[in-house]
């Protein structure tokens, strides 16, 4: 069977809603099924990758360490919108994993190149 190229599109900030956590769960499950996985962070989604998250005072789980574990599941293609970063005053060094910064025009093509798109 052909291995499908799957793109997980993350558009929401962490903690305010459960989208980010659900995406993590689904990526980890997908990685067990020989999918060719890419992650894309656009809009507020890139706040999920912000370094130094500390949820102790909120008494909820900090799920950001999971992004660093993705590498062990062969999830290594992580893309972030350059424009979304600039709008939020963030730089590559503010993020907790190594990402590839793409222009929004390049992201159009990226979406086109994938077989399946999962939206969060």
């Amino acid at each position: 069977m052909k291995i499908k190229k799957c793109l997980y599109v993350n558009r929401r900030a962490p903690y305010g809603t459960s989208y980010a956590l659900e995406a993590i769960d689904m990526v980890l499950i997908g990685s067990a099924f020989d999918q060719d996985i890419s992650l894309l962070f656009i809009d507020d989604g890139l706040f999920q990758l912000k370094k130094g998250q500390d949820t102790a005072d909120l008494e909820i789980k900090n799920h950001s360490p999971a992004y660093r574990a993705f590498e062990m599941y062969d999830v290594e293609k992580i893309y972030v919108s350059k424009e979304a970063m600039a709008a939020r005053g963030l730089k590559r060094g503010d993020l907790l994993v190594d990402v590839e910064l793409l222009s929004d025009s390049r992201i159009k093509e990226l979406m086109d190149e994938h077989d399946v798109i999962f939206s969060f």
């Binding site: 903690y15 949820t55 005072d57």
Partner: protein
């Protein structure tokens, strides 16, 4: 008597902050909580909008929500006061009523 306005949505995703700023009367206060704290960060496209509103409104931001999202007081714009949960309670007592912009 003045109102404490709370905003819990990201300004990049929802217009809750915009509506709040449009209707908040001079002398009232805005407390940014949950995903609303992204409006308090320096260097975003909303910084100027918030800075302008500061001339008429007092801005507060809930520190535990800032910390949870990986930011610290050094990322928060000058002029926005950070409060903890006890400070949140104090604000609700200090102002006559609370209006939540969801």
């Amino acid at each position: 008597m003045s109102i404490l306005h709370t905003v819990n949505k990201s300004p990049f995703e929802k217009n809750s902050l915009e509506s709040c700023l449009r209707y908040a009367k001079s002398g009232s206060a805005v407390l940014l909580i949950e995903d609303g704290i992204y409006a308090a960060l320096a260097g975003t496209t909303f910084e100027q909008r918030v800075a302008t509103a500061m001339s008429e409104l007092d801005f507060y931001c809930l520190a535990p929500d800032v910390k949870a999202r990986g930011f610290s007081s050094s990322n928060v714009m000058n002029g926005i006061k950070l409060v903890d949960y006890a400070g949140f309670v104090d604000l609700t007592v200090e102002y006559e009523k609370v209006q939540a912009w969801l």
